[in-house]
């Protein structure tokens, strides 16, 4: 009895799934790591989703699931989306990498797009933004503006994307301020406002007057505002509600053009596996308005650096750069290749502490 009802259920699910495929609406699913109201990372992805809806109107249907933990639960959510007839699924956090690959194997006709990962398959593309370009601008402003010469950095997980950001910010802070020191806290979460605020408070108590964050909520901004004379940068989203101070600038992720293009590709049947990694030049990374709390000359330099990166004239990882252990990485004038950057698992010379393994 139980077995037959199970079979019947499975048959129904399959029937629904094929029924949904038969419709002419393209269904696009989004899996989010935090709530859409986080004011940061997920908020920007959801703006991308809304842009897709606006672009295609009736021809598209979008669905999303928020606050999906990285791990087995993500696999369940993706499977559910695929069963419900999604044609294209964006999985928007690094930790969804293996779940995405696993689910993609089971649904060869569904296209998957994984953000910030590096594993592809015939129906899995990866896309990411060159956040480290934005980090270079932040590092420059931070190095110039710090008075205590201590810059606090809240990392989420020790993955290449975060390590790249730390290295890029450090190189550019050090360039303009040789005395600068980075204090790094690994929060081991993408989204936990209370913990992020605690981390910011601890860094401020230990002397930091600039806080860089690579976690998704605006809590560190609130903590910095509470503490007073501290500056911060918006992460993933503009976070302009904390401008002009503590937030003096930001990195904004602009996913909308990519999401629209990929949805279009699915509709046209021209979708194929790609490995997209766009930066300031393509508009996937934007630098939020630099507020008046930044002196005019520093603002000018930051804008010039942004323009140079947009024109493709400047690469944030340009030699000579040594690794933390003193070994050579990039020779004079040499720029880092994408392969090394994508798998970056080392600090550059001058950073203290070890990367958790």
């Amino acid at each position: 009895m139980k077995f037959t009802s199970l079979l019947a259920g499975a048959a129904m699910v399959l029937g629904l799934a094929t029924g949904a495929v038969a419709q002419d609406k393209t269904k696009v699913g989004f899996v989010y790591v935090g709530p859409v109201g986080d004011g940061g990372w997920t908020y920007e992805h959801d703006k991308g989703r809304l842009a897709v809806e606006k672009e295609f109107g009736d021809k598209v249907e979008t669905v999303f699931v928020e606050s999906v933990p990285e791990g087995p639960d993500a696999e369940r959510v993706m499977t559910q989306m695929a069963l419900e007839g999604a044609d294209l699924i964006f999985t928007t956090s690094f930790g969804y990498m293996d779940p995405t690959i696993n689910v993609a194997k089971k649904f060869p006709n569904v296209k998957f797009e994984h953000a910030t990962g590096y594993k592809t398959a015939p129906n899995v593309s990866v896309y990411s933004a060159r956040f480290y370009e934005g980090r270079a601008v932040q590092g420059h402003i931070a190095g110039k503006m710090t008075e205590s010469n201590i810059i606090g950095y809240i990392g989420s997980y020790p993955i290449p994307e975060v390590i790249r950001g730390i290295n890029s910010a450090y190189i550019h802070a050090k360039k303009v301020n040789p005395d600068v020191e980075f204090k790094i806290i690994w929060a081991y979460t993408w989204f936990d406002p209370a913990k992020e605020a605690d981390a910011a408070t601890v860094l401020i108590e230990q002397g930091a007057d600039v806080i860089l964050q690579h976690t998704d909520s605006t809590a560190p901004q609130a903590a910095a505002q509470e503490a007073g004379n501290v500056i911060t940068f918006g992460q993933a989203s503009d976070m302009s509600e904390y401008a002009p101070k503590p937030r003096v600038s930001s990195i904004i992720d602009n996913w909308a053009p990519y999401y629209i293009a990929r949805t279009q590709a699915v509709m046209d049947g021209s979708w194929e596996t790609v490995n997209t990694w766009d930066g300031i030049k393509e508009g996937m990374v934007e630098i939020g308005e630099i507020s008046d709390a930044v002196p005019a000359d520093i603002k000018e330099e930051a804008l010039a650096m942004t323009a140079a990166m947009a024109a493709g004239e400047y690469h944030p990882f340009t030699g000579p750069i040594k690794k933390q252990d003193g070994s050579d990485w990039l020779a004079e004038g040499e720029t880092a290749d994408d392969g090394t950057l994508a798998g970056m698992n080392f600090y550059v010379e001058g950073l203290e502490g070890e990367i958790p393994q």
Binding site: V36, A194, K195
Partner: protein, 306 residues
Amino acid sequence: MDLGEINPVLLVASLMVAATPLLLAAIGELVVEKAGVLNLGVEGMMIVGAISGFAISVETGSPWLGFIAAAIGGAVLSLLFVLLTQFALANQVASGLALTLFGLGFSALMGQSYVGVKPPSMGDIHIPLLSDIPVIGPILFQHDPILYLGIALVAAVWATLRYTRVGLILRAVGENHDAAHALGYKVIKIRILAILFGGACAGLGGAYISLIRVPQWTEGMTAGVGWIALALVVFASWKPWRALLGAYLFGGITVLQLNLQAAGVAIPVEYLAMSPYIITILVLVILSADKSSAPASLGRTFHASH
């Protein structure tokens, strides 16, 4: 590595702040469980308290009114649990989980227009004379009022459960609801009051995060504190002072490990990150070697006709 950069006074002061939301939620749940009800909806009641408190204090400009609203918000949500478990006699585990899911979604809805708003500050009480004592002053006598309220609640719950008739009745209901019923106590009524108390405490704990600890409103901002509070009650063997100890241990080690990381101590970060959980559990398990057990009627549905 430079341990000198960690200021022990600031450390202890901030651990008390980090522990307070957990403490408030745990002491409320402790009373609920002492009455024999297992409410897994702590997380949901906390987040609803967080947004209720935040919204009201932003609208009125008074953090005090905010906290009162948070307590009411948490209690109102727990009414839903009352309805499900005490009148409809639904399963408590399932109802509690539903409460959490509902609370998270509902708070996100309520909070949509409050993202990025700065709440009015409550300010700290500087107790005259005492707060000027070096070291002890900043640690003990320069906090916000709600932190003291948390400690006072622990003392009150402990004294009530231990020394008063009300406490005795509450425990009787939790240990054996049939016997309590036979003695003429109104089991359902007592449980409802306990659940409402738990809801109000959880609401206060949530508002402490959104109004004092962070302070801002973000969806899902309690990020699992409610679950930790639930675990804490069990590991504290349903004893108020142990819940306080556990909350301070957990909050303390959380803040300490962040401090150690920032100071660059050469302990692998993974161990530091898991240390609050492990140490709190270890200490409380060792303390509970006296075999104090759960209230006997915990999680069981009561119906007078049984």
